[in-house]
């Protein structure tokens, strides 16, 4: 296997490891094709640290005399230091780490090699499929159908093979609509609101261009969506200025003249580089050791991360209001329909749909709205905040989603069936994982590489009896009501559990949370007797 080509030195003795929340320890360092393993060799302890090389964002080397120090900054925001005796060994190790931590070839990544004894590759991969989902939603069958027009991914490379569309729109029509939408992402159903039969559709921007092209089929499709209603809302995640400019590069918006029953609402959301920059600044603020309150608040403000959280929750709230309070269907899109659109559709469903707030429901929601819907995880999560690499398509949109969900959890501690621990776990898995769930950019790529047959499924693993307890919220009280988050800036807080994870304070509070969990579970048990 080529991995060994990159490993000149596989083992080094007498290495000192410094990691957060632990005293320095001495032991043996091993480098394998996918991992860095440190085994403590102190008296009476057998601590091991196993780090996926994929989790490494950046490394720095410092030589002093005949030994060197490698500082490893991880995508999960941990910072480790290894003091390695011997300059040549140190250089070899760092070179191996550098190469192996940014392998491009997806099929060489660890999920293809991860073979735990308690999981079988024959186990079901994924929680559900569009087909199963459609079959289970009986209320949909009257006016909506499952189309397999995309079964070979030729109509839309980033969509799953089956999507839900209005009954009266046939496959040929869909093909034409796909040509009119960026990346072929024609409007599809993502949520059906049982209480009033209204729906949320999502898509990418229409390719109207500077010449104001129109597509009768696209208009027909959207008309079919609001058949029984007087109007629908289009939530465009770009400002009015941005949409005008989009026309100059071939994109555009749904103009009133051709879509006269649809009211367009603009809510500018940041994406791409802007979000990545924001994350970098926030992480930098969190590692500031100056102990100065003013500086902390300044840096926090400058990062603008909390502003993005506010905008996301606020726009999702708007979407949910259109559907639940005003009783109208809505279409959501930005440019490509793979980032902000998915973000606010997910959050709106959490606001409105109690089932999405259960543990299973939430994982199924993520599977539908992110994994199957074609959020380009491989590109977005190639690097995180510490990386020095030249960024291409990286953007912490999924992390932003998890932060928003955490804000919901904080504001409604009884309303979500899952715990913060789940959010933290997902925040790690999306950047570096043993599982194949977040590999690739869409269903087509996953099929091509045989991800479903050759890797294990994260969501299934999280629902196993041993794990699911840890990820459940012991205070959960299911409610049919919608949960409307406050988006006043004063109500939103820094997600300390993630951004300050490796500090003494957070560590201590995690232990306290665990204690409280045990107490609540114990009380529930006692109360039942």
């Amino acid at each position: 296997m080529e991995f060994s080509d990159h490993i000149k030195t596989a083992n080094v003795e007498d290495v000192v490891l410094r990691q957060p929340l632990h005293p320095p320890s001495r032991g043996t360092l091993c480098i394998t094709g996918h991992h860095l393993l440190f085994s403590e060799r102190e008296e009476g302890s057998s601590q091991q640290v196993l780090l996926l090389l994929r989790n490494i964002d950046a490394i720095e080397k410092r030589m002093s005399g005949s030994s060197g120090t490698i500082t490893i900054k991880c995508k999960d925001l941990r910072v480790l230091q290894l003091d390695i005796p011997g300059m040549e060994q140190c250089l070899n190790i760092s070179r191996s780490i550098e190469t192996l931590s940014c392998l491009d070839n997806v099929s060489e990544m660890y999920p293809f090699f991860y073979r735990p004894t308690d999981l079988s590759l024959q186990d079901q991969w994924g929680l559900s499929t569009p087909e199963i989902h459609y079959t289970q939603m009986k209320e949909l069958h009257e006016r909506w159908r499952l189309s397999s027009v995309n079964k070979s991914y030729s109509v839309c490379p980033s969509y799953p093979p089956a999507v839900i569309v209005p009954n009266c729109i046939d496959d040929e029509t869909l093909k034409k609509v796909a040509k009119f939408r960026q990346g072929g992402r024609f409007p599809v159903l993502c949520y059906y609101h049982r209480k009033n039969g209204m729906v949320i559709m999502r898509s990418s921007q229409p390719l109207t261009g500077a010449n104001r092209k129109r597509c009768k089929e696209d208009e027909l499709l959207l008309q079919a969506v609001i058949e029984d209603s007087d109007k629908g809302f289009i939530i465009d995640t770009r400002s009015s200025q941005q949409v005008q400019q989009a026309r100059m590069t071939g994109g555009g918006f749904e103009s009133k003249s051709f879509y006269n029953c649809w009211k367009r609402l603009h809510r500018q959301m940041e994406r791409g580089k802007v979000l990545q920059e924001s994350l970098i600044k926030l992480v930098e603020a969190c590692s500031d050791e100056s102990h100065n309150v003013d500086r902390w608040l300044s840096k926090l403000e400058n990062s603008k991360w909390l502003s993005h959280v506010q905008t996301a929750l606020s726009t999702a709230g708007l979407l949910a209001e259109c559907v639940e309070r005003d009783g109208h269907s809505a279409l959501v899109h930005g440019y490509e329909g793979t980032d902000c659109s998915l973000l606010i559709c997910t959050l709106a469903q959490l606001i409105m749909d109690p089932f999405c707030r259960t543990l299973e429901g939430f994982l199924a929601l993520l599977e539908r709205e992110w994994v199957q819907a074609g959020h380009p995880f491989q590109q977005r999560c190639a690097h995180s905040a510490y990386s020095h690499a030249r960024f291409q398509q990286e953007s912490p949109v999924f992390l932003l989603l998890l932060d928003c969900v955490w804000q919901l959890w904080r504001q409604f501690p009884l309303a979500l069936g899952f715990s913060e621990a789940l959010l933290l776990r997902l925040a790690n898995e999306v950047y570096a994982s043993d599982y194949g769930t977040f590999l690739c950019n869409n269903d087509q790529e996953r099929c091509a590489l045989g991800v479903k047959d050759r890797t294990h499924c994260l969501f299934q693993a999280l629902l196993r009896p041993a794990e699911r307890d840890y990820y459940s919220n012991p205070l959960y009280e299911p409610t049919e009501l919608a949960i409307w988050p406050s988006v006043h800036p004063q109500s939103l807080q820094l997600w300390r559990g993630f951004f300050l994870r490796w500090t003494q304070l957070t560590h201590h509070l995690e232990a306290v949370q665990e204690e409280i969990r045990s107490m609540v579970i114990e009380w529930a048990r006692v109360a039942q007797r």
Binding site: V293, L300, E301, L306, S307, H488, L509, E515
Partner: protein, 447 residues
Amino acid sequence: MEFAELIKTPRVDGVVLHRPFMPTVEGTLCLTGHHLILSSRQDNTEELWLLHSNIDFIEKRFVGSVGSIIVKCKDLRVIQLDIPGMEECLNIASSIEALSTLDSVSLMYPFFYRPMFEVIEDGWNSYLPQDAFKELESMTDEWRLSKVNKDFTVCPSYPPLVAVPKNIDDDTLKKVAAFRHGGRFPVLSYYHKKNGMVMMRAGQPLTGTNGRRCKEDEKLINATLRPGKRGYIIDTRTINVAQQAKARGGGFESEGNYPQWRRIHKAIDRYNVLQESLIKLVEACNDQSHSMDRWLSKLEASSWQTHIKEILTTACLAAQCIDREGASVLVHGTEGTDSTLQVSSLAQIILDPGCRTIKGFQGLVEREWLQAGHPFQQRCAQSAYSNSKPRQEAPAFLLFLDCVWQVLRQFPCSFEFNESFLVLLFEHAYASQFGTFLGSCAADRSV
């Protein structure tokens, strides 16, 4: 009764009340000598009983013939009353203004309040210095309870009984009192069971520009040192401010005269700086602009969190000196009635698990704030909404409660009480039916 003279219109019907968290309700507004009451005929609405002493500021607004009075309370609530009839509205407003700015303590509501609940324990006598001393006596015989201040003549702001080192007699204490700001000679604040180290607190030494010294003062604090061990003096002023204090008769303990004491300066802001900070913070919290940037900017500009950090850091330092270094500590600022008490009480929260129980915390507040003579009457005369010129107001006690809350948040399983308790204490410090927070010291309250 003078109250009736101040009430121009005692009763108005058809008043609409807007208050946080509850639906708008219409009812009858009544003004009594102590309360503003709104009562509606509807069954399931709660009556509003608002103490005039809780009112910080009122604004009037007129739309047509309906006048609105916006009442901003010291507990930070904002309520609105829509009163039909301009004359009624003006009368109500001026009555409220008069009733909420009464100066005389004995006109305050606690003197008129008759509780409707059963009084289980005599709170006035639950936390007497004698009882606290009994506990100290059981652990060490190095201290005695002195009655030198029983008529409040030696130190007007101290309680009648104070704990001092055993070998220091009353005459010595009188001399030390003459050397300390406001007569606040060093007294025992806390005895650390684990190692017998103590924390004392005082006012600043009145060394003045001539470098006055007081051998009795030195003898007193040296009495708390173990042979061969140094003590720490934590001065809550910067070294510059401490130097400048000399020009006005104050000063600090010089190394020459107090060689066994190491002085550490850890500045904590006080008085109007704190009041300004509170005003800005409350304004930031009420900002409705929905802008994250603006919120964070304003939060930063208020500097409130900086003050929290200063106080907590200093308290941690004091606690570390006592617990980790095994040294005794003397804390003082200028007067010894604000930052000194913040540090001494917080350090006890850190060090003493007993202070984290409900009774223990009440005892702490009683000892380190009420009996210790924190001037509540002056500090809590106005809160964040007031428009009048601030004189001696400062949210020192509120800052202390905020610091306790910070610790509570970091150690959620280590306290017997919760956040609601802290909020309750805050509310009562500013306006209460109980007399606990009236006055500024034991002498005031004994009258």
